[in-house]
């Protein structure tokens, strides 16, 4: 065992595989956060007056608020004045196709193996499954593909900055309606300084003809990322949205405070899948992204459905609870999560299922995998309002431990105010078994491949919820995240 431990430690010390930085001149907002910063961002984006006012209102509110401290996280103090709030690649004119994209950016994507390089898709080769990529490089959308085809279907898929200019009424109708400005400290901050993000509108009765995908990437030193995503599925509409991200290696912590709002009207369905691989920091917990994300869906319509699937492997600190407000009668909320923590990573993640509508149903499947000296907490709320008859919830939380120095915690909150509700909660915690490891190794797999195989099996229920485009990437990622974690 001694040799295996040494091997394991050597492998743990392996550098973050995708840690490289792209050399592109940045156009920065002045350092620090003030009303001037907010005005600068708004002006940079040629925003209308109402948008600036909305931001300023949020900023003033934020100044009166405190960062939350209830999560099981140890968050170092963040100096909000010692950061930049806006950066865009120096590329002024908008481009018509990805061929015109800065080659440096293209190379970065290619190193990451991002499907944007799928030339056949870009060239519109028939038969290839189409993935529209609204590529967000740092804070500005530098390229948007397939806009025309989507437009023909009536689907609006734009950067949120463009949407604010081109579809102000739609944006204004829903922005901040699911996650109000005052929702929480980080959401309020985002409302004030969000730099860019994505807007999707799928009109009544339309099934979006392709999976929509945005790749986020933090690329500027000390630049906080404040993405804002708003997806509205009108009556009977369907859309599947993929969000994935990796970040280059940095020594200084980077704050990421995104807000995602989803709205599903009658009979509409939104499937939102995330693979999160921000830089997690080194083996001593130096560096890494602070990921404070507010994601919430409003299932407003009857029979509406929202399904969140997340594979969280990155970030030094993850604070994230993709939730569903199940307001519509017979609406459905789902949350499938794999959260991996290694080394010194901390994750406090889970979901909230707020049952307001009669007959609303929710399913929660959470798989936590802890290794190294990390801490991994599932925190989930199931709330049933007094008026919500016939609600059903099923929750399953499984934790897998890969070391004896890591932590796994399950914190369920169940608030039921209607006696007709059926709530089920199952939880397990187990340590990866030596029998399994030896069995797999005796068949020819090395220690890392054996761990990856067993962990992927453990997470299978969640991984199989991912669209094919993501499932393979996610499986690889689980293995990479846990390299050398067994000793």
């Amino acid at each position: 065992m001694a040799t295996k431990n040494a091997e394991a430690h050597a492998a743990v010390a392996k550098k973050y595989e995708w840690g490289f930085a792209t050399d592109i001149e940045q156009d920065f907002a002045p350092k620090g956060l003030s009303e001037d910063t907010v005005r600068y961002i708004s002006a940079k984006k040629n925003e209308p007056e109402w948008m600036l006012d909305w931001r300023l209102k949020a900023f003033r509110l934020w100044q009166t608020m405190q960062a939350p401290d209830w999560a099981k996280l140890n968050v170092p103090p963040i100096d909000y004045q010692d950061a930049y709030y806006y950066a865009e690649p120096k590329q002024k004119k908008t481009i018509a196709s990805l061929d015109e994209l800065d080659p440096e950016i293209r190379r970065t994507y290619e190193k990451l193996g991002i499907p944007i390089k799928e030339q056949e898709v870009l060239a519109g080769v028939e038969g290839a499954r189409k993935v529209a990529v609204d590529a967000v490089f740092d804070s500005v959308s530098v390229a948007t593909t397939f806009r025309e085809e989507l437009k023909a279907a009536g689907v609006i898929f734009l950067s949120i900055s463009e949407a604010i200019r081109e579809y102000p009424d739609l944006v204004r109708k829903w922005l901040g309606k699911v996650v109000p400005q005052r929702d929480n400290y980080f959401a309020t901050l985002n409302s004030a300084v969000f730099s860019d993000g994505t807007f999707v509108y799928v009109p009544e009765g339309v099934r979006c003809p392709m999976e929509l995908s945005t790749y986020f990437r933090i690329n500027a030193e000390n630049t906080g990322q404040f993405e804002r995503t708003l997806i509205v599925a009108d009556k009977g509409a369907y859309v599947s949205y993929l969000e994935g991200c990796t970040a280059p290696m940095r020594d200084e912590n980077q704050l990421h405070a995104a807000v995602v709002e989803l709205v599903a009207l009658d009979d509409a369905e939104i499937k939102y899948s995330t693979v999160q691989n921000w830089y997690p920091g080194d083996e001593n917990g130096i560096g890494g992204i602070y990921n404070f994300v507010t994601k919430r869906a409003l299932c407003q319509g009857r029979n509406s459905k929202v399904s969140w699937t997340q594979v969280e492997t990155g970030s030094a600190i993850t604070w994230k609870y993709p939730s569903c407000v199940l307001a519509g009668e017979n609406s459905v909320g789902e949350f499938y999560s794999v959260a991996v923590t290694n080394n010194r990573q901390q994750a406090d993640t889970g979901t909230k299922m707020i049952h307001l509508g009669k007959g609303s149903r929710s399913t929660i499947v959470s798989k936590g995998i802890s290794a190294g000296r990390s801490d991994n907490t599932y925190r989930g709320l199931v709330r049933v309002a007094p008026t919500a008859e016939g609600v059903r919830n099923f929750t399953q939380c499984d934790s897998l431990l890969l070391s004896d120095q890591c932590g796994a915690h399950t914190v369920p909150y169940i608030e039921v105010r209607n006696p007709s509700a059926q709530i089920e909660h199952e939880a397990t915690t187990s340590k990866i078994s030596e029998d399994q490891l030896f069995y797999a190794m005796s068949r020819g797999l090395d220690a890392e491949a054996a761990v990856a195989l067993i962990v992927n099996g453990f997470a299978r229920e969640v991984l199989q919820q991912l669209p094919m485009e993501f499932a393979v990437e996610a499986q690889k990622l689980l293995g990479i995240s846990l390299e050398g974690s067994v000793g």
Binding site: Y439, S442, R443, G444, R460
Partner: protein
Amino acid sequence: MTMLTIDNLHAEIDGKPILKGLTLQVNAGEIHAIMGPNGAGKSTLGYVLGGRPGYEVTEGSVTFDGEDLLDKEPHERAAAGVFLGFQYPVEIPGVSNVQFLRESLNAQRAVRGEKPLSGAEFLKVARAQADALGLQQDMLKRPVNVGFSGGEKKRNEMVQMGIIDPKFAILDETDSGLDIDALRVVGDGINRIMRRPDKAVLLITHYQRLLDYVRPDRVHVLADGRITRSGGAELAHQLEREGYAEVAA
């Protein structure tokens, strides 16, 4: 030609000596049976040869194909051609048999510098082996050993052996938990897969009955961590008649 040489092997678990100077030689083309009472160290021998962590070799050596076997990690032993059939095959939830075996086999092939088998190539091999061992095809898609009966698990070990096609197999109580029909199928499987001039088998068993189907070239009695007696196939019958206490003393 000598395939495996075990010389004066001493091994312990948690400081407790189990193997106490075991010496054994297996040539290519031979099937050897290791028999012995409970607690003699039979399974320990299998695990030590497989490289299980926690089994500390304190003295002696094991040479396989002219190389030091004990120096290798378990997966390197597999790639070198050693297969360990488990007495209690392990469940791996969420991982299909097909995925497990294809990844394992391709990992071995990579070490040996062979190109990986494609999904289709692999499935062809896997299906043929499952058929030969009377295992339902859908078993290949099910998670490894999850929900399998004892007999199915043992058959599955043989399917794995057939797919991996090793040079040398250590089969630890593969006969336990099998009814008489399954015993025949497994026995036929061992003969079909392993009875070759360039292969060898170490059959670890408590009972003689598997040896009715797989005729050993040599039979060894393992007692208190050492080989106390060796002989031909007839020794197994003698053990069955007279008991270990009598024969091994």
